[in-house]
């Protein structure tokens, strides 16, 4: 297959965090400027490689702290990997955290505009999709209320609705779909499947096996930053659950 038909390509991606960053005092800053290497490093991703073809759905699974969210951040381009390359073709819409890019004091409408702008839409495109966003989210009665009065389910509805309606080539979702009610989850699933049939790419972190099995055909299993397996989703889940069961047994 030609490389440009790949929506996402990750090659040997390493991401390292220094521990205790953000709490440095001047003394420590000076020490690091004068070349003292910080000793505490934490490898969140250790040589992860995979690719996703256009139209494919890829799930990222693993236990808490395995590096799933870090992987998504690297793919979205929020942070650069220390080693390796990440390539993404096309416009990306990412829902990495419920409420990111939203402001609690702004109304629903204002947040839709802000979010669309953040995702790269212009004014004309935003106006054109606005009605569709509100309809899909089903929050019309509250659209002029400040967002802080919304429940987390309503917030999710609005956020997802904007993200899917900005017509991205790649949709990336971290967990958050779980807070929607059954009706809305069904609506989202249908929308995502339609999205994939249109040749768009879907990348998702979740612990909800049933939903992932339906929406994705392949999966990446991360464990402590290492990629254990990247294969068809049923065989990855089989291996993942097999190991979880084995660990439980050896612990018990």
């Amino acid at each position: 297959m030609k490389n440009d038909s790949k929506a996402i390509t990750c090659e040997n991606v390493w991401k390292t965090f220094r521990l205790h960053t953000g709490q440095k005092l001047l003394r420590q800053h000076l020490a690091s400027w004068f070349g003292e290497e910080p000793s505490n490093q934490f490898h969140a991703l250790k040589g992860v490689s995979f690719d996703v073809a256009a139209g494919e759905g890829l799930a990222v699974i693993g236990s808490n702290g395995a590096g799933k969210s870090t992987l998504l951040s690297v793919v979205v381009g929020l942070t650069q990997p220390e080693k390796g390359t990440v390539k993404v073709n096309g416009r990306v819409a990412a829902l990495l955290e419920l409420g990111s890019g939203f402001h609690p004091d702004l109304t629903g409408t204002e947040n839709v505009y802000l979010n669309a702008a953040l995702l790269g839409f212009n004014e004309r495109q935003t106006k054109a999709m606005y009605e569709e966003v509100v309809d899909f989210a089903g929050v019309r009665d509250f659209i002029d209320e400040p967002l802080r009065t919304y429940s987390s389910g309503m917030m999710l509805r609005l956020a997802f609705s904007v993200a899917i309606n900005v017509d991205p080539d790649v949709l990336i979702i971290d967990e958050i779909l779980a807070v929607g009610d059954a009706d809305f989850q069904t609506k989202c699933r249908e929308r995502i499947l339609g999205f994939r049939r249109a040749g768009k790419t879907f990348l998702c972190v979740s612990h909800a096996k049933a939903a992932l099995m339906e929406l994705c055909d392949r999966a990446v299993w991360l464990d402590h930053g290492e990629m254990m397996l990247c294969d068809r989703i049923d065989s990855v889940f089989e291996a993942y659950e097999g190991r979880a069961a084995a660990q439980k047994q050896s612990a018990g």
């Binding site: 990111s100 890019g101 004091d105 204002e110 953040l118 839409f121 004014e123």
Partner: protein, 253 residues
């Protein structure tokens, strides 16, 4: 990576800042009028009743000082904290980071417009009148905004790594208050410091404003050149420094 409509994004970020700031205040935008008015009354009392001074149109004289000073200090300090305040955005949405401090500076421009209208009202009320040199005002204000953007870019990036930066900025603003000729005339500044003063863009702006509004003359070429030079130098430094520092924002926020 991010390919979108920069202007639309900028507009929405500015609107957000603005709405968030005023929505929960009962007086809303009136605060931008109230602040300089209160200062004006207090200072006029101190400097015309307690100390006497020979300056004509003292309230105008003060306004020409306090409007630029207020704009810069608020823009600089809100710009400095802008990245940390928008950590959620920086960590979760792949927008070009530069736009955050710039939007923060520009969202103060509405204040500025309101305070300039206040100045205009005083100008008309005191009978000084508008003159043809007012055409210089957009130019010098644009340079001031360029300067403020540069400072906001540089210090917002520092503030991500060293959170004390904002206290440094606040203290500097207190010092700056005395180094800008707000309530004393430039003519009282000893000659050997005069050239230096003009390199301070805030002082330069105040001087230019007084020339235009009170003296009805064009600001001097030397002053304009210095203002332009310093403003763009600071913007360039800000952009370069920001670019050097931004790769690790994610780790530090």
């Amino acid at each position: 990576m991010w390919r979108g409509d920069y202007l639309f994004l900028l507009k929405n970020l500015i609107l957000k800042d603005f709405r968030v700031r005023y929505r929960n205040m009962s007086l809303g935008v009136l605060w931008s009028l109230l602040n300089p008015l209160v200062m004006l009354v207090v200072w006029s009392f101190v400097f015309t009743k307690i100390f006497t001074n020979p300056i004509r149109h003292f309230s105008l004289f003060i306004l020409c000082g306090i409007v630029p000073f207020n704009f810069f200090t608020v823009a600089w300090s809100s710009g400095t904290t802008s990245l940390v305040d928008s950590a959620g955005l920086i960590k979760r949405v792949p927008i070009p980071r530069e736009i955050v401090p710039i939007a923060s500076v520009l969202s103060n421009c509405l204040h500025l417009a309101i305070q300039m209208s206040l100045l205009l009202v005083f100008v008309l009320a005191s009978g000084v009148g508008v003159n043809v040199y007012w055409f210089f005002l957009p130019l010098i204000w644009a340079l001031e905004i360029v300067f403020a953007c540069g400072m906001a870019l540089l210090f917002s990036a520092f503030n991500v790594y060293v959170r004390d930066t904002r206290y440094f900025v606040e203290s500097s603003n207190l010092v700056l208050f005395w180094l800008v000729p707000i309530f004393y005339p430039f003519s009282l500044v000893p000659p050997r410091f005069k050239d230096l003063y003009q390199f301070n863009p805030i002082a330069a702006l105040v001087l230019a404003m007084r020339d235009i509004v009170l003296e009805a003359k064009a600001p001097s070429h030397v002053l304009l050149i210095k203002l332009t030079l310093v403003s763009f130098l600071v913007l360039g430094t800000g952009l370069l420094g920001f670019r050097r520092l931004k790769p690790r924002f994610f780790d530090y926020l």
